[in-house]
């Protein structure tokens, strides 16, 4: 074979994929690929799909294996050096609890969803790309579980993450987001997760967690972040490729795609409210405010993206302006929800101290002192009087995003936004026009929503009392829930630090 030239990566890729999209003869193509027509998307030429990576399976395995080796080397040394004692503060671990219970299971959902898209899109280019992303997402959930399992040896609230994900009231927010995407057709899934989540909003999820980890001395989490980074850039490229491909294929696709972009932007924005609260309230060492992150990663980056997509007729998502205005408020409103429902939260809450309140005033000069500082002052006063404020009733939830209906009217932070629709003689309530529109477009889907509060009332969650429900959540009462101050986590942390001081003397 001395005369044969070695093939380049590009040629190898062409050889690897192009033969895969044969026309089936034993069964008609529509039977083999039953899912890629019903959504109304028209594809004239699947071969116009440009896979920007041209990654063959053998190179894929080689890259990933190398990254795994590096990651596990770091995790080993982190464990050997008791890295858990070197993070900024014991409070920081609650960020990891939120991540492991609320986000890692969604990596798994993404894995399942991309496996589905990878099976059911009939073009070979997107199919190979979706299958690789599916494997990436499986790797992400695994590396996250491995990384955080080290903290589980010492801290509460981590061990039942998988069980909690399907049951706990606030975890229904990310769960329902992915359930919605995964029960859609493959094209909607690709726009929902591939474009809206992985492209448009991903930096608002991963940058805060990973730089939060770096600022707070959690090198193990930083490393899994790095290990996922090259995957994420592939995912972003897939997301942008998908939307351009659909818009280029047929003008009839535009209104369908626009509706999906509007829907999934708003749903994503609602889920990201958890990240907003994490950044502004949970990181002992702050990276930047949620509002600043929103300006950089949505207003600026999203702005130039939609300028670029305007040539296809695609518009900025509906209610993007409302979401931008909400960046002033959601972190405060969300942390307030968890503060008053701390007895039912799987992580610890705390009262922001004076320095923290001043930071919030500086970051939110137009709103914090006027609307939110008084709330913390009242609760601090009650705490001092031995009457720590709890909400002992269950909250009204939004039928769409499933978050307690705590968001306020655009332009009026003193009044809750109430929206409702009547469908087949039943009332449905929403936190916002964005959530109401999503319901009104697909009411038959959203009347099936598993709303945790209503499920408790129906008797489907272990019993009628709060202890019954917490037992059903497998929440270890007195350890997993309630304030950080007075928790076993805090006691352990203080013990470590007393020891460090003793050794330093």
């Amino acid at each position: 074979m001395s005369g044969a030239k070695k093939l380049g990566l590009k040629q190898r890729y062409a050889h690897m994929t192009r033969g895969l999209d044969w026309e089936t003869t034993y069964q008609p193509m529509d039977k083999v690929f039953p899912y890629d027509r019903f959504e109304g998307i028209k594809i004239k030429d699947w071969s116009a799909w440009e896979d920007p990576f041209r990654l063959t399976m053998d190179t894929y395995w080689k890259f990933q294996a190398e990254k795994e080796r590096k990651l596990y080397a770091v995790l080993d040394s982190f464990a050997q050096n008791n890295g858990q004692t070197g993070v900024s503060d014991g409070r920081y671990i609650n960020v990891l609890k939120l991540f492991l219970t609320g986000i890692s299971p969604e990596e798994y959902q993404a894995h399942r969803g991309f496996a589905f898209a990878g099976r059911h899109l009939r073009g070979v280019g997107p199919r190979v790309a979706a299958q690789m992303q599916s494997l990436d997402e499986l790797r992400h959930v695994q590396t996250q579980i491995h990384t955080i399992s080290h903290y589980n040896k010492y801290f509460d609230g981590l061990s039942e993450f998988r069980h909690m994900h399907d049951r706990v009231w606030y975890l229904s927010v990310p769960k329902s987001f992915f359930d919605d995407a995964r029960t859609a057709g493959p094209f909607e899934f690709m726009i929902a997760i591939g474009f809206a989540f992985e492209y448009l909003l991903t930096n608002l999820l991963f940058v805060p967690f990973m730089s939060g980890a770096a600022y707070n001395g959690d090198m193990s989490t930083v490393t899994f972040g790095f290990s996922a980074q090259s995957d994420e850039s592939r995912h972003m490229t897939l997301g942008i490729e998908v939307i351009k491909f659909l818009l280029e294929q047929h003008p009839d696709n535009l209104p369908i795609v626009q509706k999906w972009v509007d829907k999934w932007f708003w749903r994503g924005h609602r889920v990201l409210g958890l990240v907003a609260m994490m950044m502004d309230y949970m990181l002992p060492k702050k990276v930047m405010s949620w509002k600043e992150a929103w300006e950089i990663y949505f207003t600026e980056a999203g702005g130039s993206l939609f300028t670029d997509l305007a040539r296809y007729g695609l518009k900025v998502p509906k209610y993007a302006d409302v979401a931008t205005a909400e960046a002033e408020h959601i972190s405060h409103q969300n942390w307030a929800i968890f503060y008053q429902y701390t007895h039912a939260a799987g992580f610890h809450t705390w009262m922001p101290d004076a320095e923290h309140l001043d930071w919030l005033s500086a970051k939110y000069p137009d709103t914090f002192d006027k609307y939110y500082r008084p709330r913390w002052e009242l609760w601090a006063k009650l705490e001092k009087e031995g009457k720590r404020f709890y909400n002992n009733a269950l909250p009204q939830l939004c039928q769409c995003c499933q978050i307690p209906m705590g968001y306020t009217e655009p332009g009026d932070p003193t009044t809750i936004a109430f929206r409702s629709s009547t469908y087949k003689d039943q009332k449905y309530h929403f936190c916002s026009d964005g959530c109401k529109d999503i319901f009104d477009n697909e009411p038959d889907k959203f009347v099936q929503a598993w709303l945790p509060v209503h499920q408790i009332f129906q008797g489907n969650c272990g019993g009628a009392t709060v202890p019954d429900v917490l037992a059903w959540y497998r929440m270890n009462v007195g350890a997993d829930n309630m304030d950080y101050v007075g928790s076993p986590d805090e006691a352990l942390w203080n013990e470590w630090h007393a020891e460090k001081l003793r050794k330093a003397v």
């Binding site: 709330r375 009204q396 306020t408 409702s420 009332k427 009104d440 009347v447 099936q448 509060v453």
Partner: protein, 122 residues
């Protein structure tokens, strides 16, 4: 609009998760005290519609909002009520049903002069 689904009869295959008959004879009632956002959202309760409106006030609203310092100063005959988007003066001795409440009704109320901690709506 209907759901774009792979089956033509999607709407016939689904179950409404919160149909009224699933609540063991109760209706879900939402209550919200305006300008007191220390309570993060409206509160939800499963209640019999035969309950008098006065009992909703004394047995439900009063204890569940008691943690707020304004709660002790509420004068109930000065309260402004809104039921499902319409201003109403409810009859305290009549049932919830007779006052127009049904499954998933929303009762909002304002307490004039009481506008939250230091007037901040908190």
């Amino acid at each position: 609009m209907t759901v774009t689904a792979i089956v033509p009869d999607y709407a016939d295959r689904i179950e409404t998760a919160d149909a009224p008959e699933k609540f063991h004879g109760n209706a879900v009632i939402y209550v919200h005290w305006e300008e007191h956002l220390s309570f993060c959202s409206a509160l939800a309760f499963p209640l019999p519609l035969a309950m008098p409106f006065g009992a909703l006030v004394s047995e439900v609203i009063t204890p569940y909002y008691a943690a707020h310092p304004d709660a002790a100063n509420i004068v109930w005959d000065k309260v402004v009520w809104d039921i499902d988007g319409g201003k109403k003066a409810p009859d305290f001795s009549a049932s919830l049903e007779a006052n127009g409440l049904g499954h998933k009704s929303l009762v909002r109320f304002w307490t004039p002069g009481l506008n939250g901690w230091a007037g901040s709506a908190s």
